[in-house]
């Protein structure tokens, strides 16, 4: 697949996304919008589009970095407990600093996401049996354990429905003033680009990387920090989007191979395109209501993931 097709799809879907919704805005009247239409476009549609694009790019790249560093195609923020840990962090910030702003919440969520990811990496070191299937299994088990710890506290504070409502991935709340935090992911994506070659080498294994003169530990830490930060921002603003970081890099790797610098742009674009498509689908199916993105991606994503592991088995 050429990059140009992806760019084309990206542009078409972005425009579509801007013009779908209850308030009727047609692309033909773009130069003669009424004041109300302009207001809707600027306050709701455009922020939503930006939120989708940034979240899609961010999660795609986060997944790619994780797969590279753990050398396992099935590791991603969903299957390594990163999302669940970020969610736990958000709960902690809700309990301890209830009046605080978004920034404090991101910091707390980031801290927990990082902690969770490092614990997962420690577990990986301990696992003797490095089967490609076993590792995501342990990761998801770890995730659901962090989830049960979250439940323990959420139950005490009577926050369970609250948690599940605003942590389910949902773009319908993305209006001006609620999505800007996602812009933090732009510098992170740039850093990911700068480190791309080093991640590729780190993905060849610790001994090999050190042999080539790479500070493996440093690179791993940079990578995991990017992943944890992007994940916690996305979980906090949008909510959990299961499997996004897992399937996008896998699809790209299928046709681009493991060289990170070559596949990074594809991953970023495909992440945005996929998320845009899912979001449009969710908005159209039960129009004028909409299905939250967490569910659309959860359903489609688990289908694709299942297909991928089945396909992998066919090659064995």
């Amino acid at each position: 697949m050429k990059l140009i097709y992806l760019i084309l799809a990206f542009i078409i879907l972005s425009i579509t996304s801007l013009f779908i919704g209850v308030q009727d805005i047609s692309p033909l009247e773009i130069f003669q919008l009424s004041e109300e239409q302009l207001h809707v476009l600027m306050v709701s549609r455009f922020p939503r589009l930006m939120a989708i694009i940034l979240a899609g790019i961010g999660m795609g790249i986060a997944g790619l970095i994780m797969q590279q560093l753990t050398r396992n195609k099935f590791v991603s923020p969903t299957t390594a407990g990163t999302e669940d840990s970020a969610r736990f962090g958000i709960l902690v910030s809700m309990m301890l600093f209830s009046g605080s702003g978004q920034l404090v919440r991101v910091l707390v969520a980031f801290f927990f996401a990082l902690l969770g990811t490092f614990i997962f990496m420690r577990i990986l070191e301990k696992v003797k049996f490095k089967d490609a299937i076993f590792i995501p299994l342990v990761g998801m088990m770890f995730g659901s354990i962090v989830g049960s710890i979250t439940t323990f506290f959420a139950y005490k504070e009577d926050l369970i429905q609250n948690m599940s409502s605003w942590l389910q991935g949902n773009f319908s709340m993305m209006i001006q003033g609620r999505y800007e935090l996602l812009y933090i992911s732009i510098p992170l994506i740039i850093i990911a680009y700068l480190y791309a070659n080093k991640f590729t080498i780190a993905g060849m294994g610790e001994e090999f990387a050190v042999n080539l003169g790479l500070n493996h530990k440093h690179i791993t830490n940079v990578g995991l920090t990017i992943v944890a930060l992007i994940t916690s921002i996305v979980v906090l603003t949008v909510g959990m989007i299961p499997f996004l970081g897992l399937i996008i890099p896998n699809i790209v790797t299928m046709y681009r191979g493991d060289h990170l610098q070559k596949s990074l742009s594809h991953t970023a674009l495909l992440g945005a395109v996929f998320l845009l498509a899912c979001d449009i689908l969710g908005r159209v199916i039960i129009y004028p209501y909409e299905i939250p993105i967490g569910m659309t991606v959860g359903v489609i994503g688990s289908g694709i993931f299942l297909y991928m592991i089945m396909r992998r088995k066919a090659y064995e």
């Binding site: 354990i145 369970i160 599940s164 967490g294 569910m295 959860g298 299942l306």
Partner: protein
């Protein structure tokens, strides 16, 4: 102390705890309180024993001590069924208030799901069992995405009913349900009696077991079905307690330090009873119903799991 002595000690402690639970603070209305407490203790013993047995067998088949049978998606499916019924018919509907129908529907659906899962995955021979688990856990995420979507839409009052179902509870277990489940559990137990003798050999690993003349696929398939039925029964009876099995099985391995399943299974059953009766005692009398037992058990089980993974010297 020999293993026999340890087993006797476990039995004695279980009986003492059960007696304490039943007789302490019985009050003057004992003719009212006594049957209810007896029923509760009986429900605890039934589910505790079922889960402990299923987990030990499951961990032997998978040759792994950090997995628990509930992760193949049965818990999430149970929650989906309950959320769906409440979402569609309301909390006062027949499907929710009539416990018998609800129980039977849940058990049948869970068993159908499990056999469907096994069926796809055992089409060929020599399947990787971790693959089965990963597919199950992905289905779990899939179910959870759908139920979270419905939970967000449900009226908060109705959600309280859903939340009740999210956590196992031993209060208000219906007598007829206890009867049905007892009969079912006894039937399954009788069926699995002839398979239990293979467990010691199975714990040596697949290759060894086949080498020693065990019809591996035949035995493992049947044991997996036994596990699915048992977990479905206990989940439908009291609700999900995902990490109880993990906790008690590992405590049993450490405490008994043997490979003999005749001892391990009995030991873990009594450890499970001790944990549940003791836990319920603490929840009722110390926390005075401030929290639910399953939340605490999952919390402790989860923390213990992370401890096991990180602190134990041996790798998994």
């Amino acid at each position: 102390m020999s293993n026999k002595g340890k087993l006797v000690a476990l039995v004695v402690v279980s009986i003492l705890l059960a007696a304490a639970f039943i007789f302490i603070d019985l009050g003057s209305n004992w003719d009212y309180a006594l049957p209810r407490r007896l029923k509760k203790v009986y429900a605890i013993i039934l589910t505790g024993a079922t889960i402990a047995f299923a987990t030990v067998v499951f961990q032997t088949i998978t040759n792994n001590r950090i997995l628990t049978p509930s992760i193949i998606g049965l818990d999430s499916l149970y929650l989906l069924i309950q959320t769906f019924l409440i979402f569609v018919f309301g909390s006062m509907s027949f499907a929710i208030t009539n416990e018998n129908i609800n129980f039977i529907v849940s058990v049948i659906l869970m068993v159908i799901f499990a056999s469907f899962l096994y069926k796809i995955l055992f089409r060929g021979n020599g399947e990787n069992i971790y693959f089965l688990l990963l597919v199950g856990i992905i289905f779990g995420t899939f179910f959870r995405s759908i139920s979270e979507f419905m939970q967000v839409l449900i009226d908060p009052n109705e959600f309280m009913v859903v939340q009740d179902r999210m956590f196992a509870s031993f209060n208000n277990v219906k007598t007829d349900l206890l009867l049905i489940s007892t009969v079912l559990v006894i039937l399954v137990a009788l069926y699995s009696l002839r398979l239990i003798k293979y467990l010691d050999v199975l714990s040596l690993g697949k290759d060894q077991a086949i080498n020693l003349g065990v019809d591996y696929d035949y035995i493992v398939k049947r044991l997996l079905i036994v596990i699915a039925v048992l977990i479905s029964i206990s989940t439908a009876l009291v609700g999900p307690i995902t990490f109880l099995g993990l906790l008690v099985a590992n405590v049993a391995y450490q405490f008994l330090n043997t490979y003999k399943h005749s001892i391990l299974i009995i030991g873990s059953i009594f450890i499970s009873i001790i944990a549940l009766v003791g836990g319920q005692f603490i929840v009722e009398r110390v926390f005075t119903f401030d929290t639910t037992l399953s939340v605490i058990v999952n919390f402790i089980g989860g923390v213990y799991f992370i401890y096991l993974l990180l602190k134990e010297r041996k790798s998994w």
